[in-house]
Symmetry: C2
Amino acid sequence: MTKKWVYLFEEGNEGMRNLLGGKGAGLAEMTNAGLPVPSGFTITTEACNAYFDAGKQFPEGMWDQVLAAMKKVEDQTGNKFGDPSNPLLVSCRSGARASMPGMMNTVLNIGLNFDTIVGLAEPVDDDRFAWDAYRRLIQMFGNIVKGVSRHKFEAILDEYKAKTEGGKDTDLTTDMLKDVVKDFKALYKKELGEDFPNDPYQQLRQAIAAVFDSWFGAPAVTYRNTEGLPHDWGTGVNVQTVVFGNMGWDSGSGVAFTRNPATGEKQIYGEYLLNAQGEDVVAGIRTPHKIAEMKDELPEAYEQFLEICDLLERHYRDVQDVEFTIERGKLWMLQTRRGERTAAAAVRIAMDMVKEGLITKEEALMRVTPAQVDQFLHPRFDPKAILKAKEDGNLLAVGLNASPGAATGIAIFDADTAGKWGRPEFPVEEAGAQLRALIGEERAKQLGSEAFQEIKDERGNTRALKIKVILVRPETNPDDVHGMVAAQGILTQHGGMTSHAAVVARGWGKPCVAGCEAIKIDLAARKFSVNGREIREGAYISINGATGEVFEGSIATIRPRFEEEHDLVTLLGWADEVRKLGVWTNADNPQDAARARAFGAEGIGLCRTEHMFFDQEGEEISRRENVVKMIMAEDEEERQKYLDRLLPFQRKDFEGIFRAMDGCPVIIRLIDPPMHEFLPPREELIEEVTRLRCNNENPDELAEKEKMLQVVKSLWETNPMMGLRGCRAGIMYKGLTEMQTRAIIEAACNVAQEGVDVHPEIMIPLTSHINELHEERKKLEAVAREVVAEKGVDVKYKFGTMIEVPRAAITADEIAKYADFFSFGTNDLTQMTYGISRDDAEGKFLLDYVDRKILPNNPFEVLDRDGVGVLMKMCVEKGRATKPDLEVGICGEHGGDHASIEYCHLLGLNYVSCSPFRVPPARLSAAQAALLYEYGRKQ
Amino acid sequence: MTKKWVYLFEEGNEGMRNLLGGKGAGLAEMTNAGLPVPSGFTITTEACNAYFDAGKQFPEGMWDQVLAAMKKVEDQTGNKFGDPSNPLLVSCRSGARASMPGMMNTVLNIGLNFDTIVGLAEPVDDDRFAWDAYRRLIQMFGNIVKGVSRHKFEAILDEYKAKTEGGKDTDLTTDMLKDVVKDFKALYKKELGEDFPNDPYQQLRQAIAAVFDSWFGAPAVTYRNTEGLPHDWGTGVNVQTVVFGNMGWDSGSGVAFTRNPATGEKQIYGEYLLNAQGEDVVAGIRTPHKIAEMKDELPEAYEQFLEICDLLERHYRDVQDVEFTIERGKLWMLQTRRGERTAAAAVRIAMDMVKEGLITKEEALMRVTPAQVDQFLHPRFDPKAILKAKEDGNLLAVGLNASPGAATGIAIFDADTAGKWGRPEFPVEEAGAQLRALIGEERAKQLGSEAFQEIKDERGNTRALKIKVILVRPETNPDDVHGMVAAQGILTQHGGMTSHAAVVARGWGKPCVAGCEAIKIDLAARKFSVNGREIREGAYISINGATGEVFEGSIATIRPRFEEEHDLVTLLGWADEVRKLGVWTNADNPQDAARARAFGAEGIGLCRTEHMFFDQEGEEISRRENVVKMIMAEDEEERQKYLDRLLPFQRKDFEGIFRAMDGCPVIIRLIDPPMHEFLPPREELIEEVTRLRCNNENPDELAEKEKMLQVVKSLWETNPMMGLRGCRAGIMYKGLTEMQTRAIIEAACNVAQEGVDVHPEIMIPLTSHINELHEERKKLEAVAREVVAEKGVDVKYKFGTMIEVPRAAITADEIAKYADFFSFGTNDLTQMTYGISRDDAEGKFLLDYVDRKILPNNPFEVLDRDGVGVLMKMCVEKGRATKPDLEVGICGEHGGDHASIEYCHLLGLNYVSCSPFRVPPARLSAAQAALLYEYGRKQ
């Protein structure tokens, strides 16, 4: 017996999503819920995979099962496929496990030919409609199944539309459409060297194969790569009776959300077009009407639609995104799926549904993603800057507020350029030259640093720069995805809230202004005009996705006020109730510490001390100068002199942080980077010394630089990451970590005397052998005891270590003997476990690896469970075997990543620590992990 | 009940070595074997540890047990401790678990004072002897127990000796000795502010404590660190009745080996002095007589001694190193221990004893250390160069051939300077400056590269330079150990084959010429004179430890011929019969491959291909130039052009290697280092470009260098070890590894057609994720299949990977799916697991770490079982779980290290691979591991 490859809608249900795809499962679920769904069937995702496995051949038995299902559909509808007198027409649509908006291809009106066209026209007595349906089939089939450029079809159509008065497609006459069909067929033959297939089953067969093929088409692959989705899911194919929204002015098509996807407001939200097929609404070719207007135009269908929406929400217990068609007054539901929504909407909907009794608090927590919480905190335009821009007359136009958020950047008019400019991360020192090469010396100078988005590293330093671009298009389609990924935001002239640009941008949380008809784009001239002004490619614009406003120039942004986001604050409060993991923060100064506490941080998991060695504003003495002298000291006495000078600064820094974290633990990491990071770069010195020698003008400066170069050379390391740094510096530079420990404990005693509840934890970095930790701890604990005795204040402190070297994880049972706590430094741990130097690799091969799927994702963003994770597990087990109550946390960048937090929960860590702005999403991630694994709840 | 801290000799045996120390266990064993051993007892090593644990206090009950044991000894000897009429005198000696020649301290004649001296003199009617014994007690006690400089005592003694005719200590009169005692006591009081203790029990108590204390004295600690012995063994203390070798001319003391320790010849070998205490023989103050002479001087004692030596060898089934004393014609055995021997002697003795039926073949294999096998292969002076040196009149003198081997270096006259000059490893570029700073511009220029010993890295490149020094001393003592360690060889004016210098040097396998009385050393003037020539400090000399010859200047060395060392070849043949591990070699060219095969290598475990990218002698086309152009190619087509040019060279290289390894597997590693290693260094280019810009003279050269600099900058990496190298280069540089694979398989097919039995195994380096290996293997296997098809030769090949990244070991179950073999690259694996960059660390902190005992040893020399070893174990288990017959080997430097080979045996690896000269010792190491763990035999 061959496998079952084909399921009638009535044979499936929502639970069969993996087999039938989201769309197929949804249609089945709707059908069985008694909704008006046109008859049809689904070919399984397994069939898709089998098709590719067999080298693009339908698996055995599939086509026979399709034919049998077609027979059933004929019975249900009373129509017959290919029958001139009473023709059945079907659509062919993709539908994968997860929604991939616009990525997959759809062919409508399969079954039409010169014979059946008569049968289609006859019952409605509308030749024009039938010919329009036929030209659509040829157009879609030619483009999607056969790959003929859509623009070539559109050019023909535009030619005919230009001859009409209205200029719209509905203005075309029957004769014109007949000519269009003729021209389309000629184009088809010219492009492909074959006739458009007349046989309905040929049409169907080729359409099904095309849907399969599109699974590995470039746009789908790009989308899955961007979203991190696997390539082996496959897509289902849905074959369904066509209903016509274009059977006259009592017909129409629409898409809608059962609640507002931008704000979450409880109000049906969508668009429709009369006398149009569904594709017309989404494609953005005609700007559609708001759904509320249907109440007047088609009141009965509208009432029925409201009822169905309500039914759907109660059935699915979530907001639905539906497609419908009204054929001569009768409402048909074509699709329903979970409605994508903005961050604001997600939170509001979750809260509302709890109030409405539709879902529980725990379910609400699962309805919002940590990424959405993160979006809440993204910069928005400063209202004062907006006012100023308006006063200055820089508001160009207002479009649809399709996806909220503030974006500024250089206007770019095609996806390739946007991808080329906006994608790469340039090293800081190269970015200027790259920009000049792209936009010319003068423009680059004008833009200056505004041209760039800063990419920060773990230490908060700018690691790289990206050029900020805004993609400006008449409309977008799946071919543009790579440019959309690279852009800061998207601006389209046409298309509604459910257009491709709007839906994709919302899914990604990227700002988008859609349907901004006021701007007139001239692609050939690479510019747009608005109110007599011209914005050329390379000009700087700003778009506000929350209001739809488009400005010329750059507008300053501010962070939103977290505490005013009451729904979010409440939701995260619920998260705190269920999560098992603590959420701490990485903060090096009192300001960051205070901000993180406001975001809900319960401690500092990583306070780096090396920033404190650089000059601070408003201080008369140069810290850095003292640090340089300390490093260059010729004996221990001299070194101690400069260390003594640095001590009061460090103490002051720690006092501020302790005050900000009153009542919370504060883990302070002793100096970590190699000493040469505090000196000028070797290459720079070589250049200077060579020049000075050459010029032979300034012998004093030369001598000084030569001396510095000598020191820098002696400190220079081939692989500094694995060199003299971390605890090794503490062991080799006498007095250094003693000074830091003294500063920490003196500061703790001082603020304790002020009444602050202080919990210092001193973290020794880069332990690879137990003896290193033992040696440092012994030495530093003596200092701590001495200070506590001197001050006479009973301050409790802990000593622990970072686990960032594989060997430390492997020997954790030993290391736990001398550590009160462990903190995973997963950045370095990943570097060493993977043998990948992050700074070098990202530009040279790592991103390429991810693109080419050699790596499932960037291991510096998402914790590598199979490699690094195994070491972490071993470490936790061995460490707790020695010391059952060992405090274990994570302070690497992964501490703020959702999937990584889930793994930390599974490992039983005490807390995750992340940068302040990642604290709120981390709270939700931790709660979701607890819900998934502790309460056995999985949405 | 308190612990038993004290054992009478009759209570112990050889098996109690750990508790009683080697010397104590030996005395007990000898006593119970019925040998003439002076009565005594041993205080246990546990007592020593308890003493230190208690803060240098005797543990509870110990002293009482000592008193009780003294009582027993009094009963046995009939003498009484402190009794003026019939005094018992005892010695107090250290004795740790392992022999530590000369490291531990001995005090003789305890129990003497103004009262008992009478009783000592009376029975032999020899005042002089008694006063000499007393001055020895004060001298040893003052020096060893109280730390007064030995030179101060010797200065007094020399003063009196100078007044005699003979000038020897035996020429001192009784009155003179009484004055010496007076002066010694005055010195004692002056130096220490207290009187020399009169109470015998006070003397004993302090002497015992001093032996304990010496366990953590600097020389003992240095020795243990050098030998890698643990510090927690503790030493035993042996208290034993003193017998006097200096009771007149019918008395004497001696030391002997039961066979010749230098050659292994079956002939008693040793030295003695009449009318002398044992310390005089070892100390090298008087040059002793050869043992054979005793036959004439003391025939009875000599006969008895021969019998006892024979008894001892049969009892212990090994060569013994004994100390004896003849007191007025009666022979006493004071000590026996396993005789240290040279490499040549070890092999000969083992072979002879098998022939004699004393030991089995397996035992013979355990009697030779791999380090001794290694010594066999050390360079020796080229006989032609020796002849030439003699013709040129550069043979200065001939001393005792105390420890074989050839050494050349700068003559240095004290241990501190030898340590300071000879110890550090200087980076190549700094070494010249360091040498100039030490010996002056001119001398350094004269010496040139001869001043240096090259320290090679894994790739055979010179990693660092050490200054070669020869330590020249009148005699050596434990204080000189640090200088001896640093020196290439040791030359002494005084002392015999059993002198401190000779024994220590033999133990280390370091060349030594001892007792070279012809050279007259003037320490103050830092020079020695010989035959009217003067050799000043800083001059270059050569010593031949096998012949005792000392030359001025440098003499060329050659490697010995392995195949002519018949005993060794036979022994290693036995090793091959028992070992489970294969022994392969790391070789990059046919010459090395052939040499390694002659040494017994059974395959090539690592053939590096990067050397093949550098220019080779006698080739007209520059390989390197093509490599540079290949790297700088602007597109793939251009790159392929240069790759095509490189292919024939690589193919030729592989053909040669395959021919040399006919019938053996050859693992070839594809290109591993980052591409920038083939280009000029960045710093050099920066300097050149800056200078060219400054001079503004040569625009063409500037343009060229600027272009090169741009490329070098774009390839530059912060941490190249973890950058774009290994398989990553293969993945990112299209065509590179394809070319290498084609060259390998073409070469294999070509030589197979010649009739060579060829087994190529292609190794993909630096895998961290299974997909990397999968991607490369897929690509390269296609190339291999293509070549085999083209050539029509049925060559079998394997594809495998290096395991050198921690993640590869952790995910070995996955990786084994696409690997036919694994090879541990433990150099990089250690770097990444430890987070230590070897190149950077050794000079900056690693050697310091080892000195300070923060690390037990250098993990790049001895495999770190607790860290790296855990990953290896995991890797083998996971890899073989996927593929039970997976071939697993090691090609890192550890593959030639004894302890690491043992661990590889325990892991069940298939083979170890090491550099050619390490193959013979590795064969023995592998056999010993098999014997220890497979046959349950442990010597």
